[in-house]
């Protein structure tokens, strides 16, 4: 993209990228992962658990950013694959095995399969219509979880899941720090995959579709397939996020499929900065912090604060907290 801009601006971009800001951008992700990794040594178990939830939620959100920010498909139904992943992981945990990687694969498969079904219909629509259909279909999945009690435990959900293990013969991870390490490792890998996908030729195709789908079609792209594929990738990531969430919470209920989860995920993307990938990771941390961790201290009015912050960001920071600097296509 930068190649088409005037030479002066290109060199300015290059200077920024090569300067301290560029170095910071490269160091920051590693520093963040390291900081979270050493956190269990310095903080109390509840804080470790909060960090775990942030990491799990970040996987859902970064997948949604790939869909919303990079491909321009704003979904308000990402709770569906998230919840499917959470339920799949929980069902594997209660009936089959406490081995975490197995639950992870089950969650990813469930999220991906559900997205493959929903996406077949949804990606034919654009903009507001896409928003509507994803919202409505996610609500259908929510109803399904309530009804199908033999599998999902109905409105009570599935409780008392066993502690996860990394290997079948390994010890159960009872300490919150170990769970955090497991969730952090998986979510860091997921974010890395998303960054690679976003920078690939496929990512550039998605940006092209976002910016001008008609022209992409005129260039000979069958735009349905990239959109369908990115919807499925986002579904897999949401499913992974769901299974990681369950690994920490040891509990799942239809609440995981609620409209609120979809709304929170989209809020995290918008607050962080659409299409910037690392911004939404920050947004995910903020949303989990306010909604799930600080809410008890705010007299239960966390949603009020989040809604207010969200409105302010929509007005004042159209590109989100990550700002315009990250706008250049990576």
């Amino acid at each position: 993209m930068t190649a088409t801009i005037s030479p002066a601006r290109t060199s300015a971009h290059a200077a920024v990228r090569g300067g301290w800001a560029g170095r910071l951008r490269r160091v920051l992700p590693v520093a963040t992962v390291l900081a979270v990794a050493v956190a269990p040594f310095g903080v109390t178990p509840p804080v470790s658990s909060a960090l775990t939830r942030m990491c799990a939620f970040a996987v859902l959100v970064v997948g949604l950013d790939l869909l919303t920010g990079v491909a321009g498909l704003p979904s308000l139904g990402q709770a569906a694959p998230f919840g499917a992943g959470a339920y799949a992981a929980a069902i594997v945990a209660t009936r089959l095995s406490p081995v975490a990687p197995l639950q992870l694969v089950a969650g990813a498969a469930a999220g991906g399969l559900l997205a493959a079904v929903i996406g077949w219909l949804a990606v034919r629509l654009r903009g507001i219509n896409f928003l509507m259909i994803t919202l409505a279909l996610a609500e259908l999945v929510h109803a399904l979880a309530n009804q199908w009690s033999s599998l999902t435990g109905g409105s009570n959900g599935l409780v008392g899941l066993p502690f996860i293990r990394i290997a079948p013969a390994g010890p159960p991870l009872v300490a919150t720090g170990y769970v955090l390490w497991y969730v952090l490792a998986v979510s860091a890998a997921c974010v890395a995959v998303v960054v690679v996908v976003s920078r690939s030729a496929f990512g550039r195709t998605l940006r092209g579709i976002r910016d001008n789908e008609g022209r992409m079609r005129a260039l000979g792209y069958a735009t349905f397939w990239p959109k369908y594929l990115v919807f499925c990738i986002a579904g897999v990531l949401a499913g992974v996020g769901g299974s990681l969430w369950v690994a920490q919470a040891q509990f799942v209920s239809p609440g995981s499929l609620n409209f609120e989860v979809s709304a929170l995920a989209l809020m995290a993307v918008v607050i962080g900065g659409r299409g910037t990938l690392y911004g939404p990771v920050l947004g995910a941390a903020l949303v989990v912090l306010v909604r799930y961790e600080l809410s008890p201290y705010l007299a239960g009015r966390g949603m009020l604060l989040l809604g207010g912050v969200f409105i302010l960001v929509v007005y004042l920071l159209p590109k989100g907290l990550a700002g315009g600097r990250a706008r250049r296509s990576a």
């Binding site: 219909l121 990606v123 507001i128 219509n129 279909l137 399904l144 809020m267």
Partner: protein, 292 residues
């Protein structure tokens, strides 16, 4: 025939529920059609109306209190609609997604404020005194209030239909749906009537909340239920016709009420199955599906 007599009351309930949905969906549909804005705060405004009814309808409610509640709901809705239209104006250049996101933020704030004031209890609301009771009618007993809702809903549908299809204002609205820049190029200032349509839609949402309270009650989460069913009606009925919205609302009303009664296990799927079928079958959508 026997089946029809057995389920007559349920079908009538479905009609009442469908017409209630119409008051929500027609606002959503007009706002979506004319402004291309998905107003996600619509459910929260319905909830505000419902809690207004909780506040007003205590004890034996006279016709004046009932009318006062409706007037209050109209004022509240008009204020909210004008406010939302005003809030969205600075975002006009940034595309419609940001406006939908703004309304999502407003919806969350509003719903949380309501639960902060009224708590998280489920409130049931009894219909006003002059509309309570269930007289015998050709062998059936049926609550007067629901008959009144059916009547009001039909009158409302007729009025909206006549305004949109038969007046100059309606013609402008339809023209704006199809090609807003062309309408402006012909020297029509679309801004005031765009705000007017927004306010009209939100008034219907709040009034619908008051009318619907004796049927659906008021509880946290009702806003999402109503919003999603409204969206389903819009999807089934199509954005650009009053008739389509009315048919969509009546169909979804039947599916939701009759479906719960006949196939309780599958009721919620039926609604969405209807939506998917409607989405695939509607000529406009078939074109849109084929185009991508």
């Amino acid at each position: 025939m026997q089946w029809l007599t057995d389920n007559f009351i349920t079908i009538l309930d479905g009609v009442a529920f469908g017409l209630l949905l119409f008051t929500i969906a027609i606002g959503l549909s007009l706002i979506l059609g004319v402004l291309d804005v998905l107003n996600l705060a619509h459910g929260a405004l319905y909830l505000a109306g419902a809690y207004l009814a909780v506040q007003f309808f205590t004890g034996r409610v006279s016709i004046w209190v009932f009318l006062l509640a409706l007037v209050m709901a109209s004022v509240l809705g008009a204020g909210a609609g004008a406010g939302l239209a005003f809030m969205m104006r600075p975002l006009a250049g940034r595309g419609h997604l940001d406006q939908a996101l703004l309304s999502l933020g407003v919806a969350l704030v509003l719903a949380d404020l309501i639960s902060a004031v009224f708590g998280n209890d489920v409130h049931t609301v009894s219909p006003p005194g002059f509309l309570s009771g269930s007289p015998q009618l050709a062998g059936f007993t049926y609550p007067v209030y629901r008959l009144a809702v059916i009547l009001v809903g039909l009158v409302l549908a007729l009025v909206v239909y006549l305004v949109v299809e038969r007046t100059r204002l309606g013609a402008l609205a339809r023209a704006t749906v199809i090609d807003a820049p062309m309408v402006r190029a012909m020297g029509v200032d679309t801004r005031p009537f765009v705000a007017g349509i927004f306010a009209f839609g939100t008034v219907l949402a709040c009034v619908g909340g008051v009318l619907g309270a004796p049927i659906l009650g008021a509880y946290p989460g009702l806003d999402q239920y109503v919003l999603i069913l409204g969206l389903v009606v819009v999807v089934v009925g199509g954005v650009d016709t009053v008739r389509g919205t009315l048919v969509g609302a009546l169909v979804i009303g039947q599916v939701e009420v009759l479906g719960v009664s006949l196939l309780p296990r599958y009721a919620s799927f039926l609604v969405f199955a209807t939506m998917v079928v409607g989405l695939l079958l509607r000529p406009g959508n078939r074109m849109r599906v084929a185009a991508s």
